[in-house]
Symmetry: C2
Subunit: 299 residues, 2 copies
């Protein structure tokens, strides 16, 4: 069986944490322990988010800008692929025995004319108070949104991933039994300009990029690990109901009821992948693999 | 023919530059044009330095430390592999046509008991005045050195590279005709602790790591691109003399006359590789490949 596993933000950083290397390593140790049943897959590719990390990196770029040039967002995304990739590889290493593992820096092509560039929607970085948020929007030209009771946050364009440039490389390594870490943070966004590649400032949704990767690799299964153990009907309401199974038709019907930027892109990613997708949390993964937890989308 | 090319700092950043993405891309365009004659090699792996970039990244970590946790040096090295790797891949892409290229995040094992940890020697980051240098050494516990008329600079341990953890992955891809970018900045330094890998704060000399990689890959040739077109006898003196060819014995005799941290590790790397090594500059590369410039060490 070949599986693409998409690690959500909380595999790396938990509520109240700042994202130190020690915190991320401790969280990854827990994530890798949960992934143990999958480490024998015939092909295994691990992707991951980078929301808090890219936010931290942008803060660093900004604060030091008078002494060290601020790199563009697309390079900050690249930097988080290495930060997180190095941590994942270090934690996977002892769990894999002789099986090799490597992180492949991954560029993902988007369209320069993607409407997302006119409508920034992907929250990154720290939460601010309403006043701070308003000030930052005014002073730095950032697009800001208010995010689920936690405050105000910068949003950046999140264009649709069209092509994973390192797909063949990832496929070659995965076939050769290497556990590949790829597509971190949704990939480094690039556009084609003639025969050249140019980085572009955006953050691609990591679940959409993971689905594109899983489809490209002809994987049997996409496993999306997130903060909640399953998809819910009427999430957050008193009568919320955990969903165990969804057909493609049911998944499409459910879509409009789901939160944009949260569960909706995960279900859309499952639909675009077109094969079995399992959505669950790290804590519920063992039971989900046994069919006793999580949401399985059959396609 | 299979070649490992080690790009020196000035392939990415030239005197007076700060290291913006645009500057690095422009310099890489020039470097990639010079590498054109090598792009058809049966196997081609490109390594690179990261001195100014890791210095910039450490400044960023430090300046934002009250808002975003400062990552350790070994993760800053990882970040520079991605920053520079993403830029190299973007510039190589149009030059390679259908030939794939990818950057593999590379961990390099060193010994925790390497004496280098007691004797920091690798300069990183910006140059400071004598007074600033003294203050930084005192306040932050940095080891500082005075570097060739340009001022004072932080030095960090530079342990000997012992094992390239992603060697098999790089070999698989290089055999499969992928132009691999690897071992950036000398690799992410790690030590073994039992069966685990732990990052350790150091910067490995990129030429030594490149030699280890070239040996591991059984490459035919190591090509070290640096600021000067060749190795010199009596470098910097009025009667300096460019060296065109060196045998192993001659190279060993020359070693004590060469600058530590500059030409000496390049010749030591050539000797540890044990096959043909060509040392030259980007500008002289075309003539050097034709045998009319550069220093060729025959082993």
């Amino acid at each position: 069986m070949s599986t693409v596993v998409a690690l959500g933000g909380n595999a790396l950083m938990r509520p109240g944490e700042r994202g130190t290397a020690a915190e991320q390593l401790a969280n990854l140790r827990r994530a890798v322990a949960a992934l143990q049943p999958l480490l024998g897959e015939s092909a295994l590719v691990i992707t991951h988010g980078n929301g808090p990390q890219v936010g931290n990196e942008l803060l660093r770029q900004e604060r030091a800008a008078d002494e060290a040039p601020a790199l563009p967002l697309w390079l900050a995304v690249a930097q988080t692929q290495a930060e997180i990739g190095a941590l994942i590889v270090a934690e996977l290493h002892p769990a894999l025995g002789d099986r090799p593992t490597a992180c492949v820096l991954t560029h993902v092509r988007v369209a320069a004319e993607d409407p997302a560039f006119d409508r920034p929607s992907k929250p990154i970085g720290p939460f601010y108070s309403a006043e701070q948020g308003e000030q930052l929007g005014r002073e730095r030209g950032w697009a800001m949104v208010s995010d689920a009771n936690r405050g105000h946050r910068r949003v950046v364009p999140s264009p649709e991933p069209l092509e994973i440039l390192e797909l063949e490389v990832i496929r070659t390594l995965a076939r050769d039994k290497t556990v590949v870490v790829a597509c971190g943070g949704g990939g480094i966004p690039v556009v084609r300009r003639g025969n050249r590649l140019a980085g572009i400032d955006a953050v691609i949704d990591k679940d959409r990029a993971s689905a594109l990767l899983a489809r490209g690799l002809d994987a049997d299964r996409l496993l999306i690990l997130t903060e909640v153990p399953a998809v819910y009907r009427r999430f957050g309401e008193p009568d919320q109901e955990e969903i165990r199974e969804l057909s493609g038709t049911e998944a499409k019907e459910l879509l409009p009821t789901l939160a944009e930027g949260s569960m909706r892109p995960k279900i859309e990613s499952a639909l675009s992948f077109g094969r079995e997708t399992l959505i669950t949390s790290i804590d519920a993964l063992e039971r989900a693999l046994a069919g006793d937890a999580g949401t399985r989308i059959h396609l």
